[in-house]
């Protein structure tokens, strides 16, 4: 039988992979993709608890998370594009003007 723990465990694994991806990669595009992974992990959790409790609020909130993720991707990729025009690079370490 699939229990809540299955979904929560999977979501935690995906979340950790996303966090490691954000910390490890230099490419800004891959970092954005890892952020999408993190948001997906949150969604799995919301849907799993909705299933466990028989309450639809979790599903409604996961729809909201998807909306925010779409907006975040649009803005993030626009920033990547303007960074590329400015620096001819999409590497995080090349955008270090604000380092003290």
């Amino acid at each position: 039988m699939i229990t809540l723990a299955h979904f929560v465990g999977l979501s935690f694994v995906v979340f950790t992979i996303g966090v490691v991806g954000v910390l490890v990669r230099r490419n800004l595009l891959t970092v954005l993709m890892s952020i999408e992974l993190i948001l997906n992990a949150v969604n799995i959790n919301l849907v799993a608890f909705s299933r466990q409790l028989g309450d639809l609020t979790g599903q409604v909130f996961s729809v909201f998370v998807i909306i925010v993720a779409a907006g975040e991707a649009a803005i993030g990729l626009a920033i990547v594009l303007s960074l590329y025009r400015l620096k001819s690079s999409v590497n995080l370490e090349d955008a270090a003007e604000m380092r003290g």
Binding site: M1, I2, L4, A5, H6, F7, V8, G9, L10, F12, V13, V14, T16, I17, G18, V19, G21, L23, V24, R25, R26, N27, L29, T30, L32, M33, S34, E36, L37, N40, N43, I44, V47, A48, S50, R51, Q52, L53, G54, D55, L56, T57, Q59, V60, V63, F64, I66, I67, G71, A73, I75, L77, A78, L81, S82, Y84, R85, L86, N91, E93
Partner: protein, 184 residues
């Protein structure tokens, strides 16, 4: 093994392989394709968790919209030249160590808590997620039920979300304009 559990592990494997591929692959285009695999696996899991509407939205918005945005951006920035560069950040090794520790310690605690919670009460009747009572009649279907909750209890957040999408769209257009080129 019962079929439900078998498919859960199958889709979980797809999701995790996709997620690992996103982080490991050198070329962003390969990462994007693995991300697509992961999104589709998550959509299958939503169907298993009786969230059919969320699964459909996941496929349409993530696998459709967000994926196309990523692919266009990868097309517009020149990826070829990165073939020989190193692709890991300087902090990669401590970050990996942190990830393992995080997975073991926090993950262990969280999964144990979830197991205790699931042991206390079995999962609710799946019919509760697919029926809604409107007025005096009972309507079947997950989409109808989610829509009813969305438009009755969460109308204000829904309207704010539409405003947010408008702001995001205008922001993306402004940021993407070519006049940003000489900004410094």
């Amino acid at each position: 093994m019962e079929p439900g559990l078998f498919f859960f592990w199958l889709f979980s494997a797809v999701v995790v392989v996709g997620a690992v591929g996103v982080v490991v692959m050198r070329q962003p285009i390969h990462s994007a394709l693995f991300l697509l695999l992961s999104f589709l696996g998550v959509a299958c899991l939503y169907v298993q968790a009786r969230a059919e509407l969320v699964a459909a939205v996941q496929v349409l918005v993530y696998a459709g919209g967000v994926m196309v945005l990523f692919l266009y951006t990868i097309m517009l920035v020149n990826v070829k030249r990165q073939r020989t560069e190193r692709y890991l950040h300087r902090q990669a090794v401590p970050a990996l160590g942190f990830g393992f520790l995080f997975l073991l310690v926090v993950g262990g605690v969280v999964v144990n808590e979830a197991r205790a919670l699931a042991g206390k009460a079995p999962a609710a009747d799946p019919a509760a997620l697919a029926t809604t009572v409107i007025g005096s009649e009972t309507v079947l279907g997950n989409t109808q039920a989610v829509g009813w909750v969305l438009y009755r209890d969460y109308l204000l957040p829904f309207e704010i979300a539409s405003l947010f999408l408008l702001v995001a769209m205008i922001g993306a257009v402004v940021l993407g304009k070519r006049t940003m080129e000489r900004f410094d």
